[in-house]
Symmetry: C2
Subunit: 442 residues, 2 copies
């Protein structure tokens, strides 16, 4: 099945092609050498957080599970690989039967992470596991980057709701994943209908300047919007003169007007003025929504302003300066055969400096102080100390190829809020700093 035949926007028939070519050529060489069957352990982690960030947010795990399940080489894909001469016939034959049959453990989605946290662990034959590298990293690197930015913004916003409205600033499908990650990070709603359709995220909308401009006057535009969408609608008041527009908005909709949106100017100043004006007009319940290149710093700076909701676009979908999470997928241990009893030997690239990593199959636990506040990310390769047994972070996600840990997105969102709340208070400070808790290796 080629989705091009369906007129779909994405002409890729399964997740199997979201893969770098070298995964397949390594597979071919390993199959021929007999090393493809060796029992292997790959781990996903990041060597460092983006500069200045205090914690990371695991996001995309649910999408990874979908991607692993749909990683199949159908006739269309195999035909492409054959035609291009990318791998030989023996490898094509092997690929035609590909179903991931190994195990995946990981931090549950929404958890926070730190440098070295083994947020995903993929176990199975080398051949089975190596193929999944690219698609797993694509998803986790993108979604976690967005969720981390969203989490900072939602900290800064406090109880005020955040609206995700960045679809127009990123790839049309990255936008859908970004809405999902934003929701995990604490956003309340999205403007992106595809995200509502695919993930059930609540969708909202206001109005654009074009709507005002297509009418003969701002008054006509407001009347048209209220006539059709009701008094509870949100009117955009900065096409011409804000004060005049607010006056007219209340005149047209009455004090029951739902909200006004301000998309330009000094938002702090304008919000105060508009609030005063609305109150003077009796529209004391009319809310104020602000948009216009907001990031976590701008949101924080508006904490004292009479703002009821923030709409965030560009800075959300671009990770507020850090659009990718720099996670890697590394072979950390392997046996000499497929035998489940063969001992796993730790392996690691020998590298000086920035690209070093720690070999061995790892567990991770978050140690807390007597008040339940996290104080260290503890990672080890040996037995888990008894006092950390209950603080272990990894859960089983896929067992023998079967996904066993699907969960609703609201559960993920709640988990993130809870995990963040257990971090030291300085985690949510916006100024640059180190990871808020240290990573300790046992």
């Amino acid at each position: 099945m080629n989705t091009a035949d369906l007129g779909l926007p994405v002409d890729v028939p399964s997740t199997a092609l979201f893969t770098d070519q070298y995964e397949l050529t390594m597979l071919q060489a390993a199959l021929k050498a007999g090393t493809g069957e060796r029992r292997s352990v790959f781990e996903v982690f990041t060597r460092r957080l983006p500069e200045g960030r205090r914690y990371g947010v695991v996001a995309g795990t649910g999408r990874v599970l979908d991607a692993v399940e749909n990683f199949r080489f159908d006739a269309g894909v195999l035909g492409f690989l054959r035609e291009r001469g990318i791998v030989d016939e023996a490898t094509l034959e092997w690929l035609s039967g590909y179903r991931f049959s190994g195990d995946i453990w990981g931090y549950p989605e929404g958890e926070v992470y730190f440098p070295g946290s083994p947020i995903l662990r993929v176990e199975g034959s080398f051949a089975q596991c190596v193929l999944l590298e690219t698609v797993i990293l694509s998803i986790l690197n993108h979604d976690s980057a967005i969720a981390a930015a969203a989490s900072r913004m939602s900290s800064a916003a406090g109880d005020r709701p955040l609206i995700e409205m960045g679809a127009r600033r990123t790839h049309e499908l990255a936008a859908v994943a970004a809405s999902r990650a934003a929701y995990v990070g604490g956003f309340a709603t999205t403007s992106d209908l595809a995200a509502g359709f695919r993930y059930g995220i609540p969708t909202v909308g206001t109005s654009a300047h074009a709507f005002t401009l297509v009418h003969d006057s701002e008054r006509d535009a407001f009347r048209a919007q209220v006539d059709s969408l009701g008094r509870g609608t949100t009117l955009l008041v900065d096409t011409y003169d804000v004060t005049e527009a607010v006056r007219m908005a209340v005149e047209v909709a009455g004090p029951e007007l739902g909200a006004v949106r301000i998309d330009s100017g000094d938002l702090l100043l304008v919000a105060h003025r508009v609030r005063q004006q609305l109150d003077d007009l009796g529209a004391t319940n009319t809310k104020i929504v602000v948009t216009s290149d907001l990031d976590e710093y701008a949101i924080a700076s508006l904490a004292a302003a009479p703002v009821d909701a923030y709409g965030v676009g560009t800075q959300l979908v671009t990770g507020s300066g850090h659009p990718t999470a720099s996670m890697v997928y590394k072979l950390v241990a392997r046996a000499h055969s497929a035998d489940p009893k063969a001992p796993l030997e730790p392996v690691a690239k020998k590298s000086l400096g920035a690209k070093s990593s720690v070999g061995g199959r790892k567990w991770a636990a978050r140690r807390s102080d007597e008040y339940g506040v996290a104080e260290a990310e503890v990672i080890g390769t040996g037995p888990v100390p008894a006092e950390l047994i209950d603080d272990r972070l990894q859960v089983e996600l896929v067992k023998g190829g079967q996904v066993i840990a699907r969960e609703p997105l609201d559960a993920v969102r709640d988990r993130h809020a809870a995990a963040r709340a257990r971090l030291p208070l300085s985690a949510t400070q916006l100024s640059r700093g180190e990871a808020v808790i240290p990573t300790e290796y046992l």
Copy 2:
């Protein structure tokens, strides 16, 4: 048709949902008010280039044409909109028959652009055109940002080929579009199989550290790779000790070894050493491929190093610091009716400072000096001066809803190289500066 039923990675049935909710609520209000039928002109442009950049690159136009063609509201989408109560029945009825039937003009894909350049112009009824805003901006903002970074990198690389290998650093489908945009900007190949499948871009691959590590020794790994993939393969030589690995690589593959890849360390220094060692071993035709967080500056700094190809990942897919192009889609003119003879009136938001824009349906031309070097981007709303007739930039892309300007990606890539070559030489300097030619309004 819901693609979820197909097990596809993207559960969005057409491009119609890559849309912000307010497009649909504005549509409903405009249809009810009778203003939805007003003949309207929307333009896509950017108010400024990313800080320090000398020119922009139009990319994604071909994908926009696909998206417009596939912008259809089928039963699944309409059911979703009805269930969520997003628009009323009259609007759903209107949407069920939606086919864009207007005209689209634009800069041909691959062209360069400057602040204010009207790179796309969408004409039709307000109702028809307003709906396309989000998906058009998503595509152009993402793809143009990537292509601009790619263009700078390809300038810096000169005749040496660039390999796009950033799939793991961005959303899995954004990665496919990024490969396409990178190719437009001058990259030679990609590691992303989906980009090869979808767009016919040549794909390449080397090997990862995991492949070396799964074997008992580096020698075993090299032998396995050469046995299976031939002597022309590229061996990764920095898992343990580079000098020892290069020696062993030539021992295993012979002087016919295709290439070695270096992925860490001081690339300038290591490349010189490895070249010397390869030459001493008689492997004078063995190439050196370098990777490791390269951007245009790192590429330029390696100009004097004996490097044969660059692999670029993170910095390419994140636009080298500018992951989005900040283009907007603005109503610039409208008539009072659907009548094609009704006069078009220019419209624009009245705004102080950064968010101002110029009303009216615009033409654009690039004026050149006597040597054929571009000297200004000239934009106007009146008649085109005779001396600029042959320098006009916009071409017809969609006529009465029919796409009339599809073209092969290689033509786009060639156009970009030619357009860049006609800019003043300072366009390709990497240091920060203003747009390399001024934008003049007539």
